[in-house]
């Protein structure tokens, strides 16, 4: 299972021109702000149509993209996580969906916040609920845009470990980040700069990685 892409997309005076591959495992896409990470992800998710379309999905069933999410302040955390189950059916959510979602919330230690109102949650807690929702979609290709926003220190690597575990079950997970500190947790790294891929390959070979506290990672 893999995704091969070769896309061009013009957005105003910014042009994204990227080609490469996503394989099973956890891929970190790094780059400064405005380098085109989100654009690339949206194209891969099928949300944005590139000017030149050449994306090949081999063996990929379900794609999920999770970026910014509007949440009404009165919704409870469990309901937000349940959004991840949207692709499974269009009948109202039920017990099985709730159980699945709770499992992922437990992994991210937000299960006890299930009944709490969104506006009472901290930024980090909210982020983890959203990640739980993304995981609950059990997609083959999971694209997470800035999943580590609002997360500090310890939780940054812990989340990356969870994602890495998820990817290790035979899935493709890609995350964007503009910090280099978690690159060690990834299997692969793709570096983007000003709309162009400047480097791609195994994380272990990436020269610019900074020290991290991940215990998984450089293995394929």
């Amino acid at each position: 299972m893999y995704v091969r892409f070769d896309v061009v997309k013009k957005l105003g005076d910014f042009t994204l021109e990227a080609s490469g591959e996503l394989r099973k495992g956890l891929t970190c896409v790094v780059g400064p702000n405005g380098s085109g990470k989100t654009t690339l992800f949206k194209i891969l998710a099928g949300l944005l149509k590139p000017d030149r379309w050449a994306v090949e999905y081999v063996g990929v069933g379900v794609r999920t993209y999770v970026g910014e999410l509007y949440v009404p302040p009165d919704a409870i955390a469990l309901e937000v996580a349940l959004a991840g189950r949207s692709r499974f059916s269009s009948l109202p959510v039920g017990k099985r969906d709730e159980e699945a979602v709770r499992r992922y919330m437990r992994l991210l230690e937000v299960e006890d916040l299930a009944k709490r109102r969104w506006r009472t949650l901290s930024g980090g807690q909210r982020q983890r609920v959203v990640i739980a929702a993304a995981l609950a979609s059990e997609a083959d290709l999971l694209l997470l845009d800035e999943p580590l926003a609002n997360l500090h220190g310890d939780w940054r690597s812990r989340v990356m470990n969870v994602l890495s575990d998820y990817a290790a079950t035979g899935r493709i997970v890609a995350v964007t980040t503009h910090h280099g500190d978690v690159l060690r947790c990834c299997n692969f790294v793709i570096a983007l700069r000003e709309g162009r891929i400047t480097w791609s390959g195994a994380a272990g070979d990436y020269k610019e990685s900074l020290d991290s506290s991940c215990d998984r990672g450089t293995k394929n």
Binding site: T64, Y70, A83, R87, P92
Partner: protein, 307 residues
């Protein structure tokens, strides 16, 4: 909670059928009260659901079903038919058919838009349609002799008594049932729209299709309601909120049944009040607010207290 609502609604429905100045006369019950009770249930449920759908898709807690402009246009066509009858002698199609024609036309236009543009474009078109319809309506009213204006204004305010008995009533109820079921089978996809169309698409939902379901169901729901009982207010805006306060849940698919139930209950309660407490038949809008506001207030208080 669902059980409570079911019991309450059943009680109200029975009261609507059995109580009244003419007593428990079976003919009266069948010929007069049953259509009215059905009208209240159909109107209440459809309005509540439409309000819920639109509030979800527009991410706006203040959306109500009339925001789509369908009801304005439907009333315009209904009145247009009336005027053509009064002034030119063309056969009067009746308020029902006249309104349905307008509702259908508006629904088609809105759906076309929804298939090509985002829901906000649909919304703005609806708002403009509403304004335009209302203005044209006012202009048309100038053509009527002054004595009739009083009738027109009151008659355009919505009353469950106007629900048609016989075949049209049955057909309307069936259409309402179809809408309710169709929405149920697409609820999860509609519910995720609260996070935004793009987020929904990212989560694997055909957002465009979901939006079209919302627009279609809301437009048909409102159109059918306005055609059969006229423009009844309050329920579309407040039943969804009351359901949320009652259940403590926010997701559309988790409050759907409660919204429908509350819509029906409010409508039945208000109609009962009109029939039993007022000396004369009045548009039900008045009592909806009087009956609904305290209920909503109590539920809101309970809800706010828990936070």
């Amino acid at each position: 909670m669902k059980v409570l609502l079911l019991v309450a609604t059943s009680l109200l429905f029975s009261a609507e059928l059995l109580l009244g100045p003419a007593g428990a006369d079976p003919y009266v019950i069948e010929a007069v009260r049953l259509p009215r009770a059905v009208g209240a249930v159909v109107g209440g449920v459809l309005l509540g659901i439409s309000g819920l759908l639109l509030q979800t898709a527009l991410r706006n807690p203040l959306a109500d079903p009339y925001v789509l402009g369908v009801s304005g246009f439907a009333i315009l066509t209904a009145l247009g038919s009336y005027l053509l009858w009064r002034l030119v002698g063309l056969p009067y199609l009746g308020f029902y058919i006249g309104a349905l024609i307008g509702a259908l036309a508006a629904t088609v236009v809105l759906l076309l838009l929804a298939s090509r543009a985002g829901i906000l474009v649909v919304l703005m078109t609806g708002v403009l349609l509403s304004y335009a319809s209302f203005s044209v309506l006012q202009l048309m009213l100038l053509a009527l002799p002054p004595e009739e204006l009083g009738y027109i204004y009151v008659g355009l305010q919505g009353s469950f008594a106007a629900y048609l008995a016989g075949v049209p009533g049955v057909v309307t109820a069936l259409v309402a049932f179809a809408v309710i079921v169709a929405v149920f089978f697409n609820l999860r996809h509609v519910a995720v729209l609260i996070h935004g169309e793009e987020a929904a698409a990212g989560l694997g939902v055909n957002a465009k299709r979901a939006v079209m379901y919302v627009v279609g169901a809301a437009a048909v729901g409102v159109g059918v309601t306005v055609a059969s009982v006229g423009p009844v207010g309050f329920i579309g805006l407040l039943a969804p909120h009351m359901a949320r306060w009652l259940t403590g849940r926010h997701r559309a698919d988790l409050v759907y049944v409660e919204t429908a139930g509350l819509g029906a209950a409010l409508a039945l309660a208000a109609d009962l009040a009109v029939r039993l407490l007022l000396p004369r038949e009045l548009p039900v809008n008045v009592l909806l607010s009087l009956v609904g506001a305290p209920a909503a207030g109590w539920l809101l208080w309970r809800h706010v207290r828990k936070i």
